[in-house]
């Protein structure tokens, strides 16, 4: 089973929920797909085993064969190639690696070469397996790295995925093919507004989901009203407590210091399993 943990708004506690759930359930592989700002490892202090570079394919134009006809630039939807009569310019950050330019070139002057965008990192905490991606600073394209992280998904494992923030392409790529998505929010107007946008995305993708309300007690009750009206199950509430905030600030998963929460996260996971199996 693959369970993604997502949130439209940042800082609502996605990583906390993903990590605490991963530590409370057995046979878990945790994937951190927030490759722009991977944080799960900061809470887990894993033993790291290996690192693998991740590449994308980009065009390499052979100047000897190139006639500067401009067909490649005309084809490229991302404006990554600029051709003038005496020179070609390639902007690697804009390239989506579609391979279209190699097809468009009438002289077979373009081949593809590898370009590094980040790395995959592998670690363990006890029997918990952690895989995360780390985008190189300055690289704009998170999606190919997210695909690389997800290619590591193991069969017959409880896979928990920490998703990036927002609702655009990196999030879509992350939650795609998940069996369930946990939406973490907080009971504030920003939390509710961003939750509604995320709900729309998941409905469009036909992925079942439920809500975890973090920092309950702050803000107002409109998140609860919305979930009731929309028939969205509230799977868990995590109250705003100084102790939880303080443990988080030190990078300690609170279920380790507050064992009653380990059980609650186990219950959360069984509830998700039940919903998925229905």
């Amino acid at each position: 089973m693959i369970v993604a943990v997502a949130s439209g708004k940042g800082g609502t506690g996605k990583t906390s929920v993903a990590v605490n759930m991963a530590l409370s359930v057995g046979n878990v592989q945790l994937l951190d797909c927030d490759v722009e700002e991977p944080n799960a490892y900061l809470l887990l202090n894993p033993k790291m085993h290996s690192t693998e570079p991740v590449y994308v394919l980009v065009p390499n134009i052979n100047e000897e064969l190139c006639s500067h006809c401009g067909e490649c630039a005309k084809f490229c939807q991302y404006n990554a190639i600029f051709v003038s009569p005496d020179k070609n310019l390639f902007f690697p950050e804009l390239c989506h690696s579609c391979g279209g330019c190699t097809l468009a070139c009438p002289r077979q002057a373009i081949t593809e070469e590898k370009r590094r965008i980040g790395a995959l990192k592998f670690g363990t905490v006890g029997d918990l397996k952690l895989v995360y991606g780390e985008l190189d600073v300055g690289e704009p394209m998170a999606v190919p790295l997210i695909k690389a992280v997800k290619s590591q998904i193991e069969d017959n494992t409880n896979v928990i995925i920490d998703a990036p923030v927002g609702t655009s392409c990196p999030v879509i790529e992350t939650v795609r093919e998940s069996d369930f998505c946990v939406l973490v929010t907080e009971p504030t107007p920003f939390g509710l507004h961003d939750l509604k946008i995320t709900v729309e995305v998941l409905r469009k993708m036909s992925i079942p989901f439920g809500v975890v309300v973090n920092r309950s007690g702050i803000g107002d009750n409109k998140v609860y009203q919305y979930c009731e009206e929309e028939n969205i199950p509230i799977l868990m509430e995590i109250p705003y407590q100084r102790k939880i905030a303080e443990l988080y600030s030190r990078g300690v998963p609170f279920s380790l210091e507050m064992p009653e929460w380990k059980e609650k996260f186990q219950t959360l996971f069984s509830e998700i399993t039940r919903i998925v199996q229905e």
């Binding site: 940042g10 800082g11 700002e37 944080n39 391979g99 392409c169 879509i172 961003d194 993708m205």
Partner: protein, 291 residues
């Protein structure tokens, strides 16, 4: 005209709360909400909509089933796994590259423009505002950010405003880069948590990579003073000016629930006072605005 981008790396550290407060203090700045995935600035500034613009950020492949002879070449060549076994286009996966249309031997595929969201121009009590909303599940948020910034520049020229304040998205990827390119200053707001520190460092490296000057402020600095000190030390070692330390105060959430900035809701609060200081420091540091 100068441009200031508020960033954080980590989400939820108070970017929008700070941006809205600076908008109130700056007076006559043009505002740009570049968090186009989940824009929240309008909930504090209540803009009056003036103009809506369709955002056509990319194309979408459409297969003519009558012409298609199921040769599956398109499916084999698509790098985005956007063509299903039934030879249908998955609009969520399609990145509009046009490879399928170019190689289809039956000419069965055309590329159409897709509306991926909307850009808006609005007026608030504190100045004009450019904002947008990416349609759920669409891509190309970087391009939409660029459109919002273009709109903001046009507004600032028209209104004779000397400052654009940009509320940036979280992370360090394409929409963040689009929010950052060519600005004068980036103010990074962080929190004293392990994740906050880690994400701050990555955000600062990104800002440096694009040759933009950075300033830092620490939000809720009193929830972990050891970590706050770590941030202060890190900034000092790297020659980055810390323009303020905002204390934790539940009034910030109360203000949000009431749809107001903290400056309007609790002008005498310690948070409002500190943000006023941050604004003054920003002005001094980079001669922003004339206030």
């Amino acid at each position: 005209m100068k441009q200031l981008t508020i960033l954080s790396g980590k989400g939820g550290t108070g970017k929008t709360t700070l941006t809205a407060s600076l908008a109130v203090l700056a007076r006559n700045a043009v505002l740009a909400d570049c968090d186009v995935d989940a824009p929240d600035l309008h909930m504090l500034l209540h803009p009056e909509l003036i103009k809506t613009q369709e955002f056509k950020g990319s194309k979408l492949a459409v297969i003519d089933k009558i012409k298609c002879d199921n040769c599956v070449v398109c499916r084999e060549k698509c790098r985005f796994e956007a063509i299903t076994e039934a030879i249908e286009v998955d609009p969520i996966a399609c990145e509009g590259c046009g490879v399928c249309a170019a190689i289809c031997p039956s000419d069965a595929i055309t590329m159409i423009e897709r509306v991926s969201g909307y850009a808006y121009i609005s007026k608030t009590k504190y100045g004009y505002m450019a904002h947008a909303l990416l349609s759920p599940g669409e891509s190309n948020s970087g391009k939409l950010v660029t459109l919002v910034r273009q709109n903001a520049r046009i507004l600032s020229e028209k209104e004779n405003s000397d400052l654009i304040i940009i509320d940036g998205p979280p992370g360090i990827g394409c929409p963040v880069i689009a929010s950052l390119s060519g600005v004068d200053v980036s103010l990074v707001i962080t929190e004293p948590t392990m994740s906050g520190i880690h994400d701050l460092q990555r955000a600062l490296r990104l800002i440096k990579h694009f040759n933009v000057r950075s300033l830092v402020c620490v939000n809720m600095y009193d929830i972990n003073k050891d970590n706050t000190n770590k941030i202060l030390r890190f900034c000092e070692e790297n020659g980055i000016k810390v323009v303020g330390r905002i204390p934790f105060n539940p009034k910030v959430t109360e203000a949000m629930v009431n749809g107001k900035t903290i400056i309007e809701y609790a002008p005498e609060s310690n948070v409002a006072k500190e943000i006023e200081k941050i604004w003054k420091n920003c002005q001094v540091s980079f001669n922003l605005g004339n206030g």
